[in-house]
Structures are given as structure tokens and as C-alpha cells.
Symmetry: C2
Amino acid sequence: MTQPVIILARPQLGENIGKTARAMLNFGLTELRLVNPRDGWPNPAAGPAAAGADPVLAEAKVFDRLEDAIADCTRVYAATVRKRDMPKPVVTPERAAQEVHTALAQGACAAVLFGSERAGLDNEEVALADTILTVPVNPAFGSLNLAQAVIVFAYEWFKQATDTPAHQSYTDLPLASKEELQGLYEQVEAALDEKAYFRSIDRRATQVRALRSLWQNCGLSAQEVQTLRGMIKSLARPHRDD
Amino acid sequence: MTQPVIILARPQLGENIGKTARAMLNFGLTELRLVNPRDGWPNPAAGPAAAGADPVLAEAKVFDRLEDAIADCTRVYAATVRKRDMPKPVVTPERAAQEVHTALAQGACAAVLFGSERAGLDNEEVALADTILTVPVNPAFGSLNLAQAVIVFAYEWFKQATDTPAHQSYTDLPLASKEELQGLYEQVEAALDEKAYFRSIDRRATQVRALRSLWQNCGLSAQEVQTLRGMIKSLARPHRDD
């Protein structure tokens, strides 16, 4: 197994099964299991809601009992926001995703259970899980629907699976080298000297430092340095009638 | 400001505005701004989709121009998955949430822009933002809808705002003390000695260590230790007709 299984226990609307498939595939999850779907399976309302995630629906496996749906799993998480009087650990989606990655790396099969739209998982279903997964929500308004709860877990799983850089440049334009920046600094300062911008020798050093910081914080590309140098050159030019 | 503003540029369906409000309030966000909503505002389709997040809709502010909607903001993020040929940094939702927390701590106003359902933000709109926010999704199937993209950002923001413990015990049952565990260990081992479970003195030490590890890894509560001790006592009792 290279990914966790998503199990829907007693899902009601085909539309929500489709939305779950869409949520899953956005984050690279394709293993869907359905336990006792209320309106049978396949369900014609699922496809349109899947918005193209039809392969997930086509491969979905159906079970009569939750016990059978989790039989090959070694780690099972029950997604619920309600407090249960059960001595089970409760983890965040982030922590669950970390644990799932560990389990998968050991070759185990891990599953996350989601209950019916109306009332979530019942206590018998939660009891079959090792761990409770609770999405932290606004205590005054906890109203995540089925596909939204799936999205949050799947997002955390995919985030950890892919390790997208937190911060990156969108373009391939290389940053300016320090030499290019130095050329800009000197050109600007020479042009300002020419126009007597600096009031005194004493204050010049401080003002130059402030200007150089300003350019430095811009994160200029090599091309942007050229653009600025052209602009400065044009501004510094004498008027036609000077 | 204690929270970021969510701005929908040219949203089309009232239903999606309602779903956005619901997504926001789940994660404690209440400041919604709408720029040029296609079907005007208020929109009767928004309320039912908000599933109780009506106060967010009631307080939503409407603008004709995106420039006006962001006028009081110092940091603006544009949510988009499409590559833009713009020299702007691109960040993950996690990083954007971190930056927003920093901006809010400095008393600034931060906003996240989301485009229309059909085609997202246009280039003019993205150009007004400081930074591009891209949710990492399956490269073979990127199909997050508007409210789903809002959920991922809002979830990351709320996660950082609330600092929910990654792992916690669901019940208030205290864990067993080491003294209570020691009592269990000794009772079990005495009972096993009685039944000649250990084959030899040599192997007894190894077997005892394995059993004690087993109990230790169970993370037993004080009450569970009592339950086990009662069970062992009962099992160790001679048969009625012994």
C-alpha cells in the first residue's frame, strides 16, 4: 500500500460519495471503500458530483460490514468531532497523516473512516478504530460536511507526501547577482550626486545605506535591475532644452 | 484586525458564496468581502448553502472594484493554481497562514483573494496581490472548487491560531501509575508461576521482560489495570471441582 484507504460508513447521498471521490483525487487518494451505502451502489448521482474523479468511483469496493472493510488494515482512524466516552487517543489531521506515512512505510494498510452525513459514525463503528481523528474547528460553529472533512485529511496527507516548498519563485527569472546590484547602486548614487540630492557628506553615508537596503529588500531579478538602470538613466538625462 | 479577510472576486453562484461563508466560519473567519458578484447582493441562494453561517453573509461587504476591496490591506494573497508569468513569490497555504499571523501581530490587515468559479482570478487581479497562494494538489487532477480552496487556507490559519495538541487522550481517565502497573506485573507473574507457565529459570527473565513491555505499550489507565487484575484473578482461580 502506498496510500491510505478512505472508508465511508453508511453514506446516504450519491452526490456526497462523488464529492468525496473528487476531494480524494485532488490529493492523490484513489482507494475508496463503501460500507452499506443507503441507496445501493453504483449510484447515478455520484458521477456528476465527482467532477472527473470517476476512476475513484469505478474502483470503489462495497462491503456489508465495516469489520470486513477494515479487515486487511493494521491502523484505523475514526473521523469524528463528537466527544466519545472511549479511552482512545485523539489526533489532529496533521498527526494522523504523519502516523499513516509511518504505517505505510512499514508496509501496513491504514484506513480513515467517515460516518453517515446525518450523524457521523456511531459508537460501534468508532470502537473498531485505533484512534480518533478530529479536525480542529471553531467551537462555536463546527459544521464540516463529509467531503470537507475528507479534504482536510487528504490535504495533510498529500502535503506530507509531496513536500512542496513552502515558498518559491513563480518565474524562472534568476535573481540579480551582487555584482549587478552593485552596478545599480553606484549608478543611482552617481546620478543623485549629479543632482545634489545628498545634502551633506555626513548624511550621505546614512542615506546611501537606506537606499541600498531598499533595493536589497526588493529581491530584484537580473532583468529588473536592467529595467531600473534604464529608468534611472532616462531620469538623469538633461532636459532637451537644458 | 485579528483575522484575515476573505475576498471573492466576481463570484458567480450565490450557493458558492454561502459555502464559502460556511467554510470560513468553521475555522473562525468572519470577514467576507465580495467584488462585483455576478447576480448582485444579497443573493437568496447563499443563505441555505451557508448552513448556519448566516452572520458571515449578513456582515459581508460589497465592492465594485478589487482595488477598493483591498485598500486597507497591507498584505494580499492571490489564490490560484495556474502558472502566471509574474515575478511574484508563490507560497503554500501553510506558509501563507504563517505570514498572515505575522502581519496580524503587527496590526496590519491581510486578505486572501479567490477568483470566479469558472476561471479563477484574471491576471489584472493577481497583479494586485503581493504573493500567490497555491494549494499543492495532485498534478494529474487539480479540481478544488471555490469553497474547498477557502477551507484549506482557513484550516491552516485556524490550526496555527489555536495550536490544538496533535495528540491527546479523549477521556479524563488518568493513566495508571508505575506502582499500579508494578502490582499488575507481579500478580500476573505470580499467577503464571503457580501454573508453571515459565519453562525454565533461564527463560523466565526474558519472558517476563516481554510481558512487561506488552503491558507498558498498552498505555493502560488506572481503571483498566483494575479490570485486568480482576480478570487475572478470576482466570487463576482453581476450578470448582479441582
